[in-house]
């Protein structure tokens, strides 16, 4: 394949399309000059991203409390305590996925693709210390459950939530030997975490 030329910058801007992206990524694996050019382009594109406004927090229900919160913040604004309160308010707005991402970001984790039926794609991301496990499943029957095996213990950890992918974030008491995705009494995906 020829060098990427202008496509290096267009790729960094996300303008090349998945099909061409795959060709570009294959080329990058073996071409140092093009890789350097893409790295430079991505660095410039990342600077552009810094100029974007942050994602707004989840919209609170319109009730009387924002006024109270404003008043409270005025009272506390002069004290260092304010920062703690603001942080609490922000963390109370964390969505289900945020909780998972925060845990993932804060620990050492591994990941494994679960062996599954055709049509089901399942992946588990798990803490090395066994303290949590995050399961993502695409194409599983609705209401599928996550079942964890540890030694002689089998635990139904609950139903997957949402769709495309359905996910379940679990705080776990320790490392699991095996993770199953179960629909009815049929195991649609299974895998072993490697700690």
């Amino acid at each position: 394949m020829n060098h990427l030329d202008d496509d290096a910058e267009l790729y960094a801007l996300g303008l090349t399309g998945r099909e061409r992206d795959a060709e570009i990524e294959a080329h990058l694996a073996g071409c140092e000059p093009c890789r350097r050019r893409v790295v430079a382009a991505e660095s410039a594109a990342a600077s552009l991203a810094a100029a974007l406004p942050p994602m707004p927090a989840a919209t609170a229900r319109r009730t009387w409390w924002p006024a109270l919160a404003t008043a409270a913040s005025l009272v506390f604004a002069t004290t260092a305590a304010y920062e703690g309160i603001a942080a609490n308010a922000a963390s109370s707005q964390l969505a289900r996925t945020d909780g998972a991402l925060v845990a993932i970001a804060g620990s050492h984790f591994g990941h494994t693709t679960l062996t599954s039926d055709s049509g089901t794609i399942a992946k588990a991301i798990y803490a090395r210390d066994g303290s949590w496990c995050y399961v993502l499943v695409s194409g599983a029957p609705r209401g599928a459950h996550v079942v964890l095996h540890a030694g002689a213990t089998t635990r139904d950890a609950g139903a997957l939530e949402g769709a495309t992918p359905a996910t379940l974030f679990l705080r776990t008491p320790g490392r699991s030997d095996e993770i199953d995705i179960v629909a009815g009494d049929h195991v649609v995906a299974h895998g072993k975490p490697l700690y």
Partner: protein, 167 residues
């Protein structure tokens, strides 16, 4: 570097807000933005696509999140909705005050202002207006090849001026 090393955790923790901002700017929907960030991270983890020679992790992740979000934008019909809201000639979305990194935003604004107008126009349309190459060509009545070469030149100029470290 393995992806599960602490460097990855730290980079993610430090820059999650920026990754979300990238996705949200494109999708204008919190859930869809979270999904795009998620999708990109899982893709990176599962393919092991990142190696140090691919440059700074943040820039790499931003590019991945942007691709993921643009994909979502194009595959979901949300696009039409967004266009109705934003219009094709949205003003430059470089707002120093509202920016996720105000100091960097100021540098970016200066670098954008320093570009030749034809380059600035295409990069603003494509990056901040989320237009495809074909759409930029149609909007500007330029041949597709010209749009591509101008965008490429614009990003190279930006890289040069931004890496010069002007205060």
């Amino acid at each position: 570097m393995a992806l599960d090393e602490p460097a990855f955790d730290l980079a993610y923790r430090a820059h999650a807000a920026r990754l979300r901002a990238v996705a949200y700017d494109i999708l204008r929907d919190r859930d869809a933005a979270e999904d795009a960030v998620h999708g990109a991270l899982v893709r990176v983890w599962s393919t092991g696509a990142y190696h140090p020679e691919r440059g700074a992790l943040l820039a790499f992740l931003i590019a991945c999140v942007r691709r993921e979000a643009l994909d979502a934008l194009r595959s979901i019909k949300r696009r039409r909705l967004r266009e109705a809201r934003a219009g094709a000639d949205a003003p430059v979305a470089v707002d120093d005050i509202a920016a996720i990194d105000p100091i960097e935003a100021r540098r970016v604004r200066r670098a954008l202002d320093a570009l030749p107008e034809p380059q600035r126009d295409v990069i603003v349309r494509a990056y901040f207006g989320h237009r495809t190459l074909a759409e930029v060509a149609a909007d500007t009545s330029l041949p597709l090849g010209t749009v591509k070469s101008r965008l490429s030149a614009a990003l190279r100029s930006l890289h040069t001026s931004l890496s010069e470290g002007t205060p």
